[in-house]
């Protein structure tokens, strides 16, 4: 099985030097947010690793996640990482179609049962028995359950497969759910984001290849090395937050000076992701650097968490009318109750027995 030989053998065949590989590992360590000193040790481990089989299932999704990955700013690195895995099924990328495509999935499942990695993007609709999304006549639910059985681990790429994402937004007509809502007996890594940062996907794959394990995860099963801190924690505009300097509109002096976007609805403080350091488009920028607040796309229910432009400290519902109503009701009840209580006092006064000295 030539496709699954060790990496060093393949590199040697391609005439890639160890120094070049070390450089690649340095870049990888940087991607994985590991200390740069670990590049040498990674090179050692990676050289010996076998190429695992990967099955990629796309469900109720927009292909944004795949786009993010394939339009990654590091095409050479990307290809190197894809060289390290055997992508046996990905219906957007593979050349095969129809029955041949499905057969390659079935072959991989049979040959590498218990060892292959399952990557999922897109949510799984479960209303109406899952009829809202089917591939080759089978529902996503059915495919996921079948393919998950033999997987060593599942990597949920994007917010849809991680948490349900936009298809799951109210009123959620298709009953879209996350992978973790269906598969409960397999290790799952959620790489959330809409789309997720491409290097995070490759970083997790590299971690699996290097160490043979899944990275350390947070309580939402996201890799801590990328999702351990919030955008707010690592934002270069944080000092302005601490000084109370806020942009009030998108074109005021504060906005021009690059002040904090909290009051314009930035969800950075409650959003765990690596955008502020890894950035997008080859390290060019990230939303806040471009002058727009964070939408919180890597968090569950981000689409339903109120307006993108409502500050975190403001209510997500309109309470003005309610407050007025409650005040009027309070006044009304006070009028009613005080009238009852005045009667009570009045009755006590009516029942008053005139006091005489004999009562003393």
């Amino acid at each position: 099985m030539k496709d699954h030989e060790t990496l060093s053998e393949r590199l040697a065949e391609q005439g890639i030097s160890r120094r070049a590989f070390l450089k690649f590992c340095t870049a990888l360590a940087s991607l994985m947010a590991l200390p740069p000193e670990s590049a040498a040790a990674m090179a050692q481990a990676l050289a010996k690793s076998l190429r695992p089989s990967v099955i990629w299932l796309s469900f109720q999704e927009c292909t944004g996640c795949t786009e993010s990955l394939t339009r990654s700013y590091t095409p050479t690195l990307e290809s190197l990482i894809f060289d390290m895995i055997s992508l046996d099924y990905h219906h957007t990328l593979q050349a095969a179609s129809g029955f041949a495509a499905e057969k390659s999935r079935e072959d991989a499942m049979k040959n590498f049962y218990g060892k292959y990695l399952l990557v999922v993007d897109g949510s799984i609709p479960i209303n109406g028995g899952g009829v809202y999304s089917t591939i080759a006549g089978r529902t996503n639910l059915d495919l996921l359950q079948e393919t998950a059985k033999g997987a060593a681990a599942i990597i949920a790429v994007g917010t849809c497969s991680s948490f349900g994402g936009i298809p799951n937004a109210r009123p959620n007509p298709t009953g879209a759910v996350a992978v973790s809502d269906i598969v409960r007996d397999k290790p799952i890594v959620n790489i959330s984001g809409c789309p997720p940062i491409p290097s995070v996907i490759t970083g997790v794959l590299a971690h699996y290849l290097t160490f043979g394990t899944l990275p350390d995860l947070d309580d939402l099963n996201r890799p801590r090395s990328y999702y351990g801190t919030t955008i707010h924690d690592r934002c270069y505009r944080r000092p302005f937050y601490d000084q109370g300097k806020f942009a009030k509109t998108f074109d005021d002096e504060g906005a021009k000076n690059g002040w904090c976007l909290f009051e314009l609805g930035c969800k950075g403080p409650t959003t765990h992701n690596a955008c502020a350091t890894t950035k997008w488009n080859g390290g060019t920028s990230f939303p806040i650097e471009s002058g727009h607040g964070c939408l919180g796309c890597s968090e569950p229910h981000f689409w339903d968490a109120g307006s993108f432009y409502t500050p975190l400290s403001a209510p997500v519902v309109n309470i003005e009318a309610t407050t007025l109503g409650a005040a009027i009701a309070g006044a009304g009840v006070a009028v009613a109750m005080s009238s009852l209580d005045r009667n009570k006092i009045h009755r006590a006064q009516q029942a008053h027995e005139i006091m005489s000295v004999k009562d003393l």
Binding site: I16, L22, K23, G258, G282
Partner: protein, 137 residues
């Protein structure tokens, strides 16, 4: 509207200075001190830092250029520059497209990537011996 009519505002120092540069230079000094005393080398991954726009350039200015510079060609170029402070190296790896894939400050007598790797030396030795045997024949 002519280009001349667009007002130009010079950004003040404070507008983007959030104090990362001073913190970085302090860390570099402490790593350099370790190298000097214990011969321990160290690295700083510039990609993992939340640098504000302009701070990268400021760091470049602060560190300057020293005597040594080197270039490696291995799946894209790498640029190694000794800064104005001997022992502090700026190592930038590019891919074939010219994008930066890793950007490091390495505090060492010689950056690791410049050294020849044992595996490459083995392969090279083998190639040299083959060459010699061919010449002998």
């Amino acid at each position: 509207m002519s280009p001349q009519s667009i007002p130009i505002h010079a950004l003040t120092e404070e507008a983007h200075s959030i104090g990362n540069i001073r913190a970085l230079l302090t860390e570099i000094a402490s790593l350099l001190d370790k190298l000097d005393r214990n011969n321990e080398s160290g690295m700083i991954d510039l990609n993992s830092l939340p640098l504000a726009p302009g701070e990268y350039e400021k760091l470049r200015l602060a560190l300057g250029r020293g005597e040594v510079s080197a270039r490696i060609d291995a799946i894209g170029p790498s640029e190694i520059i000794e800064t104005h402070y001997p022992g502090v190296w700026w190592v930038t790896h590019y891919n074939v497209e010219g994008d930066i894939v890793a950007d490091l400050l390495e505090i060492a007598t010689i950056p690791e990537i410049i050294k020849s790797q044992p595996e490459d030396m083995h392969a090279g030795l083998a190639r040299l011996r083959t060459r010699l045997s061919e010449v002998a024949e």
